[in-house]
Assembly symmetry: C14
Homo-oligomer: 76 residues x 14
């Protein structure tokens, strides 16, 4: 039954982390579009910061992906 | 029972990740339309950023898809 | 009992992914109508972007559908 | 007990997918009425886009219906 | 115990689908009244679209009803 | 134990469907009062549409009631 | 154990249906007071519609009460 | 164990019904105070309607109380 | 184990009923302060109605307390 | 195992009742500060009503505390 | 197993009570800062009331702490 | 198994208490910044009150920490 | 099985505490940016307070980390 | 079964911590873009504070990652 629980752990690890990270990118980029529309001359600064924010959010999803892959290939 | 739990893990992994990512794309694109309507001359910039945001959100869903497929084809 | 759990996994995989994707399309298209009403001359651009957004959201639902069908026809 | 779990899977698959899709159509159409009232001359465009959005949302519910029917008639 | 689980599946299938669909009709019709009050001359168009939206939402509830009745009369 | 699960299914089927439908009628009628207050001359049209919306929402609750009664009197 | 589950079903059936219906009446009547304050001359029409809305919401709670009483006195 | 489940059913029946009904009265009366402050000459009408709304909400809590007491004194 | 479940039922019965009732009083009184500040000459009327609302909300918590005490002293 | 379940019941009884009551006091007092700031000459009336509201909210938490202490010292 | 359940009860009792009380203090003090900024001459009154509100909210957390400590030192 | 449940209790006790307290500090300080920006001459008063609020919120987290440490070092 | 439950406790302890603390920092810093934009000359004061708020929020996450590490290295 | 529970703990530890941290970065950066658009000359200050906020949020996710990795490599 251990093998099944490890699989379940891998699935659980990725599902909320990836989903909420996706939601977070959606919120962040949505606000960025909003701000660009209101202040077009800030667009370049906001764009580069948006990339940084996306990368950090993506990073949290990748932490979970790493745990998930360790569970599947190393821990099994 | 392991096989059943692995299947459950694959289903769990994809369901919230894909669903919340879909919700995130919905929020992000919705805000993008809003911003385009308010500042039409920013439409091209916002459009290309929207594609980048969608791709990163889609990526979180694909992380979960990868875990899900590994569970089904490699880990089984 | 494995067969039952695989079935449960297929059901779980599709239910939240499809439902939240549907909600996401609803939010995205709702905002699109809003923006068209405020800026009619942007309607064509928004319409084509709406199609792209819907397709990407639909894609997340299809990821889950694929996992679901693999569970039912390949993994069983 | 497998048969019972397959039934449970079919019920689970349809319930949230159909319900959230219904909620999504409600949100989308509600926003569409709003936009028509504000910009009556856009009504025809919004109406045809609303139909497309409803069809795509309906599609996510149908994905779940398909999984549900496969579970009941093919997988059983 | 299978029979009990099939019954549970039928109950689960209908409860959230019907409830959330009811909520969706409530949201959609509420917005429709709002729009009619703001733009009375659009009332006829909105009314006919409201009927279409309600029918599609009702359809998602009926999908679940169909699964529920199949579970009770065909699958049992 | 089957009998107990069938009872549980009947209880589950009605509780969220009826409750959320009640919430939906509350939201829909609340918005209708709002619209009547803002545009009194639309009151008759909104009133007749409100009745139609209430009937359709009530219908979703009745779908669940039907499933519930079938579970109690036919399926038992 | 059946008897206990039937009791649990009766309790489950009434609790969310009654509670959410109560919440729905609260929302509906709250909006009605709001509308009366804004448009006093509509007060009589809104009042009679409020009664109709309350009755329909109360009806959903009574559906659940009926299922609950059938579970306790007929099904037991 | 039946006796324990019946007790649990009685507790479950009253807890959410009473709590959500209390929340509903809070929302309804809160809106009533709001409306009175905005339109003092409507205060008497709103007050009498508030009493009716409270009674109907209280009624849903009492439905659950009745089910709860039947469970404790008749069904036991 | 019955004794333990009865205790659990008593705890469950009071916890959400009392908590949500407390939240309801908080919402209701909060709105009352708001209304008094906007329309000081209505303060006496609102104050007496606030007492009535609080009593009715308190009543729902007391229903649950009664069920809880019956469970502990009569049903045990 | 009864003793453990009674302990669990005592813990469950107090946790949500106390927590939600605390949240309710927070909401109520927060609105009271708001109203005082907008209408300083009402401050004394609002202050005395705030004390009454807090006492009634505190009362719901104390109901749960009473049930909790009965469970620990009388029922055990 | 009793000892473990008592421990679990103590943990459960404190976690939501303390957490929600903390959230409540956050909401209450947040509103207090808001009101002070809008009406600086009310700052002293609001400050003393804020202390009273915080003490009452803290009290609900302490009720749970008391139950928790009784569970750990008296009931064990 | 007792030892495991005690550990689980310690983990449960701290997780929501600490998390919600952190959220509460976030809300409280956020509002404080807001108020300072609107009324800079109140900044010192708000700052000292913010520290008091943070300390009281931190206190609720520490209650849970205390219960958690008693569970791990005294109760074990 | 104790060892597994201790591990689960460590995981549970950190997950919500860290996550909600992260959310709290996000809310607090978001409001701080907002306030700085509205009142630039307050930026230095807000910045130093933001650091204090972040440290206190971080502290709640560290409480949970401490409990988690005690569970893994001392309690095991 | 211990090994499986440790895996589950590692998955649980990372999933909500990473996901909510990602959501927090999304909220914080979204507000930052907003503030930059409103007050462009504050952009540099806000940008450097945003980096600090992101690092502290990221830190909470890393706490969970550390616990997760300890669970997988040290505790196993």
């Amino acid at each position: 039954m251990d093998r099944g629980l490890i699989a379940l752990a891998a699935g659980l690890a990725i599902t909320f982390a990836a989903g909420l990270a996706g939601l977070g990118i959606g919120l962040s980029s949505g606000k960025a579009f909003d701000s660009m529309a209101r202040q077009p001359e800030m667009a370049n600064k906001i764009q580069s910061l948006l990339f940084i924010a996306i990368i950090f959010i993506e990073a949290t999803a990748i932490y979970a992906l790493v745990v998930s892959l360790i569970l599947l290939f190393v821990f099994k």
